[in-house]
């Protein structure tokens, strides 16, 4: 009996432990805090920020009919400026219909396949990046606030495991750089906290826009670990964990990064 109750206690205590923050909320810093002044001002310039080219494309796509129903996003959601305000801040989120965790990209594609009878956009395609950036932009300045309770809890816990898992030839986890050593130098760069609040973002290294998953793949490649295919459940769990780490950070999409 006591053994069972001890076990129950341990099970209850686990999530509480898991929810302890390695970086307290007061010290959480957006990736833009680790940029040089030039890139920061480029991000804040609503004209010169190259990500705005994708926003324009997204705005057009928003009211472009697609699929069997010949409907566009605007047919149901009307003006994105009001209907999409705050939506991106709550993702990744468990989709009630399928019970699966989806990110913003996944939600857009669910809408396309389920409601519009259209083909899903290919992951990392210009269209999906444009649409995701456009939707996320409507939440600009709003604090990240993904739910990690209820149906999302298991994903959150799996996300933390993924975050702390040592991988690849360098045998590093996300935490080794972005938790234990943020703010220090790695060659010529300052290690950031690895916050996801500006994605999809325009990265100088890519010379184009990319999703958060592309960024995660770049990290995995950097530590010489296996890159998972786009849309893998492990990425989604990790994205949820990252969203929780970033709680309260304002959304900056489209960000500009190194």
């Amino acid at each position: 009996m006591s053994c069972a109750s001890a076990l129950a206690f341990a099970l209850l205590a686990l999530p509480a432990l898991a929810q302890q923050r390695a970086i307290p909320l007061s010290e959480v810093k957006s990736g833009s805090a680790f940029l040089g002044a030039d890139l920061r001002s480029l991000q804040n310039d609503d004209f010169a920020n190259p990500g705005t080219l994708w926003l324009e494309r997204g705005e057009k796509l928003w009211s472009e009919p697609a699929g069997k129903t010949k409907q566009s996003c605007a047919s149901c959601h009307k003006d994105a400026k009001t209907s999409m305000r705050g939506v991106a801040a709550r993702y990744p989120k468990v989709d009630a219909e399928s019970g699966r965790l989806v990110n913003l990209e996944g939600r857009i594609n669910l809408c396309r396949t389920r409601r519009m009878g259209a083909e899903p956009f290919k992951y990392e395609s210009e269209e999906l990046l444009a649409m995701t950036a456009y939707v996320a932009r409507q939440s600009k300045g709003m604090p990240m606030a993904a739910s990690v309770d209820g149906p999302a809890k298991a994903h959150f816990e799996a996300g933390e495991v993924a975050y702390r898992l040592r991988r690849g030839q360098m045998n590093l986890s996300c935490a080794h750089c972005h938790e234990a050593n943020w703010g220090k130098r790695l060659l010529s760069e300052t290690i950031s906290q690895g916050q996801p609040n500006a994605y999809p973002a325009y990265r100088m290294e890519w010379q184009t826009m990319g999703s958060l998953e592309r960024r995660l793949r770049a990290c995995l490649s950097g530590i010489r670990a296996e890159m998972l295919p786009y849309g893998s459940p492990e990425y989604l769990d990790l994205e949820l964990y990252l969203a929780w780490r970033a709680q309260g950070l304002p959304i900056e999409t489209p960000g500009v990064r190194r």
């Binding site: 010169a48 190259p50 324009e56 010379q207």
Partner: protein, 106 residues
């Protein structure tokens, strides 16, 4: 090719106005190789020009050193109300153009 152009809608005669141009383009340098080792052909916007009421007021010959999605900023003197025409072409012959009008008052 998506392009964004920004200039003031109104200006005083003789005023120096700022013109900003942002064009979506990969600006392939011609120095990179693809996954199987073949050189990727150069494809950059090689000319960007701006005519103000038919007179060329700005021209840039761009090449490999310019980053993707080039951003160009330049200045001209507001002379008469009219139209600014922007024109560009890349190595593959793809052209783009935009027009914007400006109102010049006394």
């Amino acid at each position: 090719m998506t392009a964004r152009i920004q200039l003031p809608a109104k200006a005083k005669k003789g005023e120096v106005v700022e013109i900003r141009v942002l064009i979506q383009h990969p600006m392939e340098t011609g120095y990179r190789h693809d996954d199987v080792g073949h050189l990727i052909k150069r494809n950059v916007i090689n000319v960007l020009s701006c005519r103000y009421n038919g007179v060329e007021v700005f021209r840039a010959d761009l090449s490999s050193g310019i980053a993707a999605n080039p951003y160009v900023q330049f200045y001209t003197v507001a002379d008469k109300s009219g139209e600014l025409e922007f024109y560009w072409i890349d190595d593959e012959g793809q052209q783009g153009s935009e027009r914007q009008s400006i109102q010049v008052g006394a």
